[in-house]
Amino acid sequence: MRRYLARNVSLVVGIVLLGLLTVFMVVGAFTVDTSNAQALSVPALQPPSWEYPFGTDRQGRDLLAVMVAGTPLTLRIGFIAGFFGVGVGAVLAFVAAYYGGWVDTIIRGIADIGLTVPGLLVLIIIAVSLKGTLTVTQMALIVASLSWLNPTRTIRSQVLTLRQRGFVEIARLNGMSGPEIIFFELMPNLLPYLAATLVAAVSNAILASVGLEVLGLGPVESPTIGMTLYWVNFNAAIINGWWWWWLAPLVVILIVFLGLFFLTVGLDEIANPRLRRAV
């Protein structure tokens, strides 16, 4: 185990980064008063100090409280949309790849066409149409509406190669039904790959949700990381030299994305040992 981890550095880096973030969230939840994440609760525009380690923003939010309250919200959006995406994507992919024929043509066609469309723009249209105050869960569902496209495509191609293997043929000759083969023969073999796809989907969902929030289309009431960046942009914090205002959300997002990225690479290495030669 230890020797394997020493070789799979990406996995370790990913786990450590996400672990740090979890520690920050848990410790923060118990020690920081998150009601200060609302506007007008602390003096405005204080640079980092003992009392406000991350500083405060122009509307009087304690940025430490915002990060403690906002990081789980941002992750929640990512997890809901990511799980939904891989769940739906996996089912569609297995059905398409295993049964082939016109089912495959339709599913693949939709995924292929959907992927050429810039996701963020479709999400913008949806979010704008639903105008009014979104909740974090609604936000997650909006992002989820497109998050199954990529998993469908990638998992499908994996199933296609797997389907040709001898053990699937034997299972079929043994009289196993299609769904049985999918669940008991194909799925277990693809578990590491599904895990890697899940992490990538979570990362993409967070990216999309942060994008919507930066454009001002997020849940305005909730102190998510993306909303913080929206206010940074709105108040031109960089030109005004309020560096602490954008530093905190920047570092949090950086840790989220880098952690998820290295985790994906690490899981990919487990799922696809042939990569070992390349990395």
């Binding site: 066409i113 810039p118 149409s129």
Partner: protein, 334 residues
């Protein structure tokens, strides 16, 4: 390359256009809001008093915009208009048309995206090939970790850091906009230089992030290609290693890269929208942001539609070019 193939790909492109128009039409109507009534109420509340006869005004406007007809008629009208390139008026900047506003913004985005995508694709592909090549200088390997890390973050985040570093701290580059305010627009050397200077930061934030992705993918492909028998054979023939590198390895490894490029266009564009917003770059992204702020629904629709069509067309072109890049693919009907 068969005409059949081109026609089929063009058919897919038309389907994308139709889908985009249809989504654009139906999604907003799902919410059941009346955009005209909303806008009028908003204007009235700005004035501070409730004007008499708003209901009548809503009715007149709805008639004027054809919003009182049955849904199917509206839909057919809409598709007809879109087919003629008519994307309606801007609500916030009436009487400017949406097409006008998009035409003004589009060159900025096409320029920025075209340049950055080409540069990062070429640079990343070449770098990735070198990284896999045993004969390449060792110090190149030091580029890997930072490129990897950069590749994982969104464009606009790097944009924020670059903006702070190069425009705020050191003030060597302009912080905002596509050209200096008040600059005389025209094809003069001064103006072109000004535009280029303003494009550096947004471009840099896109290129630095994308290069890593292309390099990573290319490196993986090169490793696979270098294990092929024809490469061993080329070595055995005693070909120059530059020839093997360029004509045998890169030439073959670059094919999946091009497919990936076609698939990545949408994602690149999504990211670039945010970069434009951060830098106030006067392209499609900034127009979209402004429209969202002003609740200018027709502009939002128009921008989304234009972008989807544009990207669909770019994908179509790449698809057609593919057989030319890879002669093994003839796309003949089997």
């Amino acid at each position: 390359m068969g005409l059949y193939f081109v026609a089929k790909r063009f058919g897919v492109f038309l389907v994308i256009v139709w889908l985009a128009a249809t989504l654009n039409f139906f999604l907003p109507r799902l919410s059941g809001d009346d955009p005209v009534a909303n806008k009028l109420m908003e204007q009235a509340s700005l004035g501070g008093y409730a004007q008499a006869g708003i209901a009548e005004m809503v009715k007149v406007y709805n008639q004027h915009f054809g919003l009182d007809k049955p849904l199917l008629t509206q839909y057919l009208n809409y598709v007809g208009n879109v087919a003629h390139g008519d994307l309606n008026y801007s609500i916030a900047n009436y009487p400017r048309t949406v097409v006008d506003m998009i035409a003004e913004a589009l060159p900025w985005t096409v320029g920025l995206l075209g340049m950055t995508t080409l540069v990062s694709f070429a640079l990343g592909t070449f770098l990735g090939a070198l990284l896999a090549w045993p004969g390449a200088p060792r110090w190149l390997q030091w580029f890997m970790p930072p490129l990897w890390a950069l590749h994982a973050i969104p464009f606009f985040l790097l944009g924020l850091v670059l903006m702070w570093l190069l425009a705020f701290q050191f003030q060597i580059l302009p912080i905002f906009g596509g050209h200096s305010p008040g600059a005389k627009v025209g094809l003069t050397v001064g103006f072109v230089l000004d535009v280029l200077r303003h494009a550096v930061l947004p471009s840099l934030s896109i290129v630095l992030v994308s290069v890593g992705g292309w390099a990573l993918a290319m490196r993986g492909m090169m490793v696979t290609t270098m294990g092929e028998d024809y490469v061993t054979f080329a070595e055995a023939k005693g070909l120059r290693s530059l020839t093997i590198f360029m004509r045998y390895c890169m030439r073959n490894a670059i094919l999946p890269q091009t497919t990936a490029l076609a698939l990545a266009l949408g994602q690149i564009l999504s990211g670039a929208v945010l970069v434009e917003v951060i830098f106030g770059y006067p392209g499609i992204g900034a127009l979209l942001f402004q429209a969202i702020q002003e609740n200018d629904f027709f502009v939002i629709q128009g921008v989304v539609f234009t972008v989807i069509v544009g990207l669909g067309f770019a994908t179509f072109l790449l698809d057609i070019l593919y057989p030319w890049l890879d002669p093994r693919i003839t796309y003949r009907r089997s």
